[in-house]
């Protein structure tokens, strides 16, 4: 693949390098950098890549947008880019145009339910909605007797239970009590809450994979700089083997996430077992890698990596937090295990080999 294949991701990485450098962001006294960054992302169509130009977006491919998410992970980005992208994508499934500004998506927990009332209003609770208090709108997956629907809801119409994730980013509960949506549309055939969860799984997997790549690069660099017992710590076999294990986790996450992104990019049927395997396996394996990988990165960095001043925590805490969004690894492992059981032992290999 030539450079030209990654124009969108390259543009994103350049903007992030200029305006969201993790070290600069980590020592910033206030949030002034966020405004400039968001404006640049919006101006370049990076907040709504999956929305057609007619609906206010950039009309980029799913594959291009997925690469932006990996880049966002590499920078431990702390603005609602992934959330706005997902919200725009969800609205587009209902042929609803995206408004300007930041958005978030709900529900993000597979067991949460927002339902349609007889009068056309929406009720329900959604836990753990990322960046909810920074969003101007929510894209909501609504369950109704006639199947899934998609709604655009004004943020100011929704009550919030404010909380934060591991990295201190907004992670709010939403309470919808007979909220009248701005727009409401039927979801396409075969599209339901599971489809939204699978898409969310792949998005978080890519972000985790990106964060892990940076953890590896930074940890290798640190090991080559730090001296102990009169040697660079990179020369100790025990440290080398820990870093080799970290590389393995980074590799597994990258392979699982990019494979799932590739699968969703080629127009999947959402209820297909192969799509299900790819998306859930990515989330399960990336979540596992986030745990093991973060531990090793911290172990090699020692005390300095545990300070607020050092940037390592920006990557580790986000990667660890993302494990829980859109269903954590335990949730999906049970669901995947149940599907495997229902298919039967003799149909397990054919599923694995089909990818």
């Amino acid at each position: 693949m030539g450079e030209s294949d990654h124009i969108v991701a390259d543009a994103a990485e350049k903007i992030l390098a200029d305006l969201a450098d993790p070290q600069t962001v980590n020592s910033a006294k206030d949030d002034a950098w966020k405004g400039k960054l968001w404006a640049a992302l919006e101006e370049n169509g990076l907040t709504l890549p999956w929305v057609s130009e007619a609906h206010g977006g950039a009309g980029a491919s799913l594959a291009d947008g997925f690469e932006v998410l990996t880049a966002a992970g590499k920078f431990a980005l702390t603005v609602p880019l992934a959330e706005t992208m997902l919200a725009g994508w969800l609205l587009a499934q209902g042929d609803i145009a995206s408004p300007a500004g930041a958005m978030s998506v709900a529900p993000t927990h597979p067991k949460d339910k927002i339902t349609l009332n007889a009068d056309g209003s929406l009720s329900g609770r959604a836990r753990n909605v990322s960046f909810a208090r920074e969003a101007q709108h929510f894209a909501v997956l609504v369950q109704s007797a006639g199947g899934a629907q998609i709604a655009l809801v004004k943020a100011s119409d929704v009550r919030r239970d404010e909380d934060v994730n591991l990295a201190g980013e907004p992670l709010d509960g939403l309470i919808l009590d007979k909220v009248v949506p701005e727009k409401l549309a039927k979801a396409p055939n075969g599209f339901d809450q599971t489809a939204l969860m699978l898409m969310g799984c792949v998005a978080r997997s890519l972000q985790i994979s990106g964060a892990l790549q940076t953890m590896l690069t930074r940890t290798v660099t640190y090991a080559n700089e730090r001296t102990a017992f009169e040697r660079k710590i990179s020369k100790f076999q025990a440290v080398q083997h820990n870093l080799a294990r970290l590389a393995g986790e980074v590799a597994a996450a990258a392979a699982a996430a990019s494979s799932a992104a590739d699968t969703l990019s080629s127009a999947p049927a959402w209820d297909d077992d192969a799509t299900y395997l790819e998306a859930t396996a990515a989330k399960i394996r990336c979540a596992e890698a986030a745990g093991t990988g973060s531990s090793i990165a911290h172990q090699v960095h020692g005390a300095i990596g545990f300070t607020e001043e050092h940037v390592l925590h920006r990557f580790t805490l986000r990667a660890l937090g993302w494990r829980d969004d859109f269903g954590n690894e335990s949730y999906w492992a049970v669901e995947l295990g149940n599907r495997i059981g229902a298919r039967g032992a003799d149909d397990l290999w054919s599923l694995v080999a089909s990818r």
Binding site: M1, Q213, L216, T217, V220, A223, N224, S234, K235, Q237, V239, Q240, H241, L243, A244, R245, A247, G248, V250, A251, A252, A254, A255, A256, S258, S259, A261, D262, T263, L277, E278, T280, A281, A282, I284, R285, E288, E329, S330, W332, A333, V334, E335, L336, G337, N338, I340, G341, A342, G344, A345, D346, L348, W349, V352, A353, R355
Partner: protein, 388 residues
């Protein structure tokens, strides 16, 4: 060196899926005629029909399938070979006669052998007539290959070999060995200098094999003793004293294939069978994680096969696949064992599971030793990361 790792989402092309269907049909036929028992990996490995099986695999054009046509190969892709390897492995097919020659020995001969050797040996591998073993480890050198002491002394027209190789899998039933022998002493500057690869005809006078029983009950291991065994000049592989320059790409093929995570796969199948259509939550989670990990490993392995096919040398990526792949397949029997703790007693559904877990548990320790230990692999990965 950088720490950037590449695992592009390579997909197997349609030709591979056609080949997969052919392979499954072929294997089903072999099972039906009693060549091997897919539900008994132990007996499949020891199948007395392995030689005839190899000939029928050969007749399909599936041995040496990636090799040049002039040596009997089919010039098919490494992705196609990947598909056959995984289908044969999952079916527990008795591939031992030709697997080593197909994966390693043949490609090494193609790259470093004299034309005479290529013409003589490669077509016979392709026909499933001859088998290879690999003579590297010695009583005093295992992972430290370059400490090998078995001598090859120059004489008129060839070399005389003296010394002992050990842990040589299947030497007692192999026709040839690719052996690593000392032709000079190492130099101060380069301790890897002085070793040369040879093709050894195992029927040569002065070679004797003593079988060594393994803890798993298998009897693949051998001690191979050389006493003035003569090897003609034509049977040298590559540069004299320069074996250390060979084999980086070959190692990638050897390390990243599906056989590096599917060795104990059968216990997972048997677990799913014994759990039935509605596993309890704990077992479902365990199975889900195992399948997610297996899927990821396989996608990594396909990705490396795609890079190799494209002419790249993904040494670090291949080592990573073997590192985490062999640890996974090693751990699998114990994870399956614990996940089966709550299975209800139903006649017939547990015996195959218990038997396969028992066998896999006994095989497991070797998986992270053969073909490059975990420790060696991590050293290679660390070097790729720029740490050494």
């Amino acid at each position: 060196m950088s720490s950037a790792l590449t695992f592009d989402p390579i997909r197997l092309p349609e030709t591979c899926q056609i080949l997969r269907r052919e392979a499954r049909a072929f294997l089903a036929e072999e099972i039906a005629r009693g060549t091997f028992d897919p539900n008994n990996p132990r007996r499949a490995e020891e199948s007395s029909h392995a030689q005839e099986f190899a000939k029928r695999v050969a007749a399909k054009g599936w041995i040496g399938m990636t090799w040049p046509k002039k040596y009997g190969g089919r010039e098919r892709s490494f992705l196609e070979r990947f598909v056959l390897t995984e289908e044969f492995r999952v079916a527990n097919a008795p591939t031992r006669v030709y697997f080593t020659a197909d994966r390693q020995s043949g490609p090494t001969i193609i790259r470093y052998g004299t034309e005479k050797i290529k013409q003589d040996i490669l077509p016979r591998i392709v026909k499933g007539e001859i088998s290879f073993c690999i003579g590297m480890s010695e009583p005093g050198s295992g992972s430290d290959l370059f400490a090998a002491k078995t001598r090859a002394t120059k004489v008129d027209g060839g070399y005389l070999i003296n010394g002992t190789k050990i842990w040589t899998s299947n030497a007692h039933q192999s026709d040839y060995m690719i052996g690593l022998f000392r032709t000079s002493q190492p130099t101060k500057e380069n301790r890897r200098h002085g070793l040369t690869n040879f093709v050894v005809d195992m029927k040569t006078k002065g070679i004797s094999c003593n079988q060594i029983r393994q803890m798993s009950g298998q009897r693949e291991f051998n001690e191979v003793v050389f006493q003035d065994a003569f090897i003609p000049d034509d049977y040298v592989l590559g540069e004299i004293d320069g074996a250390w320059k060979q084999a980086t790409t070959e190692l990638s093929y050897e390390r990243s294939g599906p056989e590096r995570f599917l060795e104990t796969y059968y216990v997972l199948t048997e677990l799913v069978r014994a759990l039935g259509p509605k596993p309890d939550t704990r077992a479902a989670e365990g199975v889900g994680r195992l399948v997610a990990q297996l899927h990821t490993l396989r996608r990594m392995s396909v990705s490396v096969a795609g890079m190799l096919e494209a002419g790249k040398e993904p040494v670090v990526e291949a080592s990573i696949v073997k590192d985490i792949g062999t640890l996974w397949e090693q751990d699998l029997p114990s994870r399956v064992r614990t996940l089966s703790a709550f299975i209800e007693q139903e006649p017939g559904n547990q015996l195959p599971l218990a038997k396969s877990v028992s066998y896999a548990t006994k095989v497991a320790p070797k998986l992270t030793i053969q073909g490059g230990t975990t420790e060696v692999l991590r050293g290679i990965i660390a070097r790729g990361l720029g740490l050494r």
